[in-house]
């Protein structure tokens, strides 16, 4: 307001690193009043981090703040907490709902900002004893809902609502803040049905008309094209393009999102992909469904050839993680899985392990590790339990005594082989860094001497150096031991550089299987082909 023609929001040269790992580099972003800006990028491109900086999230300050400056109406601002950001007129709707299930729509919209009336008790005991002004609350909620241009029952209890209405309630809560000037929507349509999503897009247009600027984050490019004035594409912490949406197309955006150097030399591993073409099929998955929350697999049929590294890629939430988790029996699943001509029963972790499968879970801390136990235990435990190794038998096998010496030996072997940084093999797993924990998970799987290894998000949350080491270890394990490896990862580049073939999962189905040397555009197109 002080500065008539300054944009509403300007972010200049924003930089952010997490402990030396650069995630945002020189980001510039301007948003004008009433403008809808689409922000797209692969998982991990830095969209969420950028929005967290803007919203003053605690996590940014705790990890050492950020570089560059944020200007609001031409004035430099620095938010120390989300409250400051809200005060300044920024609202954010997160991917996860933050609503109180037992409260009504109105109560949720105005939570902690309710208009109040004085009463006798509050005269005596102070403002905290004021009664709620229900009529006014209702009015203000109605206003906010009307601004969206959709119909939501104000009296309905949140827990009875369809997801779409919960999403609208979240947005209405932001709209009910009078000072709101900029609204950030983080993948608001991810959980909505098509019809609900359309309604939401409609309301975005309506809000923009009223002068509210919107930053809209989504993976659905057609939505971006439909509603945004401007599209900003991010990749690996850089803004790679900023275009008016009329000057671009979904195809161009797809390429910008995934492509590094589009004509990068084909992957190192694919040089011998030719000879593996004729290798027999070792694992055949038919009509697999997996009920894994957030990663539902609907109908996947897939053949894995002996000795190859197969990559499974796709956007988050499309079901790629469900495939290994379902085959390994960690989530309810159906369909048939045939390994070397024998059918493997599903929903039974033990039978998979007996068939010499091994699995490195994407959930390191939850599934992958015994955090409170030593590295020795972590690495040797599955092999001990499933294959009776690292045990000494007494009384004719009646007593199976833990063989501490053998356990230490194998642990030390993997510590040096994988360069796990630790004080000793007795150190507790929880004391290691993420990258080293991941190496322990790999060591655990290697120690099983599997014929078939599933690795899920092997590089998630670890730094660049550790990433290279982990991928190298997988490749070496594949080459030297002839183990068939399936890598599931959200990072396309990682798959292209380490796999022989890449299967892309979209909407819980296999959208296509391509050689790793295929271009990023082809893969990217498949990724977005059946998104739901």
């Amino acid at each position: 307001m002080n500065n008539g023609n300054a944009p509403l929001l300007e972010m200049r040269n924003i930089k952010k690193d997490f402990f030396g790992n650069q995630v945002l580099t020189d980001i510039n972003l301007t948003v004008h009043e009433g403008e809808v800006v689409g922000l797209v990028g692969e998982n991990g491109a830095g969209k969420s981090t950028l929005m967290r900086i803007l919203f003053g999230a605690d996590m940014i300050r705790e990890t050492g703040g950020y570089g560059g400056e944020v200007l609001l109406n031409g004035q430099k601002v620095q938010f120390n907490s989300p409250f400051d950001a809200i005060e300044a007129g920024i609202g954010m709707v997160h991917q996860e709902f933050s609503l109180i299930p037992g409260f009504s729509t109105t109560e949720n919209i105005l939570l902690n900002r309710e208009p109040v009336k004085k009463n006798l008790v509050s005269e005596v005991f102070g403002d905290r004893m004021n009664t709620l002004n229900r009529t006014m609350m209702d009015e203000r909620a109605a206003n906010a809902i009307e601004m969206m241009g959709v119909k939501v029952d104000r009296k309905m209890i949140i827990s009875d609502m369809p997801v779409g209405h919960k999403q609208f309630t979240e947005i209405a809560r932001e709209l009910s803040k009078e000072q709101l000037k900029l609204l950030i929507l983080d993948e608001p349509t991810a959980v909505l049905t098509e019809k609900e999503a359309d309604a939401l897009l409609e309301s975005i247009r309506g809000m923009a008309k009223r002068g509210i600027a919107i930053i809209f984050i989504t993976h659905r490019l057609q939505e971006i094209m439909a509603v945004c004035d401007k599209v900003v594409v991010m990749r690996d912490g850089y803004v790679v393009s900023e275009e008016a949406s009329s000057n671009t197309s979904t195809a161009i955006i797809t390429r910008q999102m995934v492509g590094r150097d589009v004509d990068q030399p084909a992957s190192a591993a694919s040089s011998d992909a030719e000879e593996k073409k004729d290798a027999p099929v070792i694992l055949s998955v038919k009509r697999l469904w997996v009920d894994m929350p957030g990663e539902t697999v609907r109908d996947v049929s897939l053949d894995v050839r002996e000795g190859e590294i197969l990559g499974i890629g796709g956007l988050a939430g499309q079901g790629k993680l469900g495939i290994p988790n379902g085959i390994m029996g960690l989530y309810p699943a159906g369909g048939t899985v045939v390994f070397e001509g024998k059918e493997i029963p599903l929903n039974s972790p033990r039978s998979c392990l007996d068939a010499s499968f091994a699995f490195v879970s994407e959930d390191r801390r939850g599934v992958g590790l015994l955090l409170d136990e030593s590295l020795e235990w972590n690495i040797a435990f599955p092999a001990m339990q499933i294959q009776n190794r690292f045990l000494k038998n007494y009384l004719g096998g009646l007593v199976k005594w833990r063989d501490e010496k053998a356990i230490k030996e194998v642990t030390d072997k993997y510590i040096s082989e994988l360069a796990i940084r630790c004080t000793s093999s007795k150190q507790k797993a929880k004391e290691l860094s993420g990258g080293n924990q991941q190496k322990v998970c790999l060591a655990k799987a290697f120690a099983l001497n599997p014929r078939m290894l599933f690795v899920s998000e092997p590089t998630r949350g670890i730094d660049v150096g550790a990433k290279a080491l982990v991928l190298e270890a997988l490749r070496r394990f594949n080459r030297e031991n002839g183990v068939t490896v399936v890598i599931v990862s959200s990072e396309l580049e990682e798959l292209r550089s380490s796999c022989d073939r890449i299967a892309i999962v979209s909407g819980g189905r296999v959208a296509g299987v391509l050689p790793a040397s295929s271009s990023v555009e082809e893969l990217g197109e498949l990724m977005l082909s059946q998104v739901i």
């Binding site: 390994m328 960690l330 972790p349 033990r350 998979c352 392990l353 007996d354 699995f359 879970s361 801390r365 939850g366 599934v367 992958g368 590790l369 015994l370 955090l371 409170d372 136990e373 235990w377 435990f381 599955p382 001990m384 339990q385 499933i386 009776n388 045990l391 007593v399 199976k400 005594w401 833990r402 929880k430």
Partner: protein
């Protein structure tokens, strides 16, 4: 000068870290009581004998906590269920006419199938309500005690040493073990120097069971049990049948409780029925917590240290206080001290990281 001071400091800090500040304070308190005892006129050797004797009675009941803690079922507040198995063993052994050491052996033999059956049912129940084990366990304890209150009256016991004198049926609340297995373990290799008495046999019996548990935890199944307690999802992903391991741990806990109460009785000299099992769970839980165990980690050392500290405070406080104020308030002080310890121990309850 400064350096030596630093050295001392780090030495002290190491001690505090490895032993835990609360345990250091409790140990210091117990030592003060022991030092005070002769000055207020209590006989020190007698007091020490008391502590050792009580340790020997209670040790196995505290040990019974270990398997369930390892498998992640939490602290066994359902201890009374195992104790009831033991009581059934004890009363039936007497009913069948066994005497002397034989009655002790037969009590164990008869208690075992009861412990296995009750433990299986209890374990099955705990597998249905993962996450709320300790709350459910508490009520399993409560309800089993109440049910048995009726059963002790109804069951057709006939032995004149156990039933009510006038009615000729229904068991008495307290049954003397004189002539049966009172002190059978304690008398083995008993050491007596002046007023200092050491019940070597009972201590050896405890040591035997403690060593067995220690050994079990070093086997394949024992390792699986610890892993299940540490991270059940990890264990499942490694092909472990989590429910079966948990069931096994509950059966072990229940059986140890049955043996534990028989050993307690042989030291105490009486079988206590009706509401008595009700009061056995909390002291055992407290002892292992004071010993430094957490809800999913416990060692044999925690059992030994915890039992000595808990029983030491509970026996010493009333004696010393009584002698100081020259008034017989021992029962009141004992209740205050023991419940205070329980309260304190429960606030110390810690869980491992997930």
């Amino acid at each position: 000068m400064n350096e030596t001071k630093n050295k001392e400091k780090s030495w002290l800090r190491n001690l505090v870290e490895s032993f835990g500040l609360p345990r250091l304070i409790i140990t210091a308190f117990l030592l003060i009581l022991l030092i005070l005892a002769p000055f207020v006129g209590a006989d020190l050797p007698t007091q020490i004998s008391n502590i050792i004797a009580r340790f020997s009675w209670n040790g196995i009941l505290v040990l019974a906590m270990v398997p369930m803690v390892h498998s992640g079922c939490g602290l066994n507040f359902g201890l009374p269920l195992g104790i009831i198995s033991g009581l059934l063993g004890a009363t039936l052994s007497i009913e069948f006419g066994f005497t002397g050491a034989m009655s002790f052996v037969m009590a164990i033999v008869i208690a075992t199938p009861f412990a296995l059956i009750f433990g299986t049912g209890y374990g099955w129940l705990l597998n249905k309500i993962k996450g709320g084990e300790m709350m459910i366990a508490t009520y399993v304890g409560f309800s089993s005690v109440s049910l048995m209150c009726m059963m002790w009256l109804i069951l057709p016991y006939k032995s004149p040493n156990m039933v009510w004198g006038l009615a000729g049926k229904g068991l008495r609340t307290t049954i003397s073990l004189e002539g049966y297995y009172s002190q059978v373990l304690a008398n083995i290799l008993r050491i007596k120097i002046g007023n200092l008495v050491i019940p070597t046999g009972t201590l050896l019996f405890f040591a035997l069971l403690a060593a067995a548990i220690w050994a079990f935890l070093h086997t394949k199944t024992g390792t699986a049990m610890t892993a299940v307690g540490s991270n059940p999802v990890f264990a499942r992903a490694a092909g472990i049948n989590v429910d079966r391991i948990r069931l096994l741990s509950v059966v072990m806990s229940t059986w140890l409780a049955a043996i534990g109460i028989l050993v307690y009785e042989q030291g105490f000299g009486f079988v206590q029925l009706y509401m008595a099992p009700f009061y056995m769970a909390l002291p055992a839980v407290s002892a292992i917590l004071i010993g430094g165990a957490s809800v999913n980690k416990a060692t044999i050392m925690n059992v030994i240290i915890g039992t000595i500290l808990f029983q030491g405070i509970v026996t010493m406080t009333p004696t010393v206080m009584n002698n100081m104020i020259h008034m017989d308030m021992s029962e009141v002080i004992r209740i205050i001290a023991s419940n205070g310890m329980i309260l304190y121990a429960l606030t110390r309850k810690t869980e491992g990281s997930k």
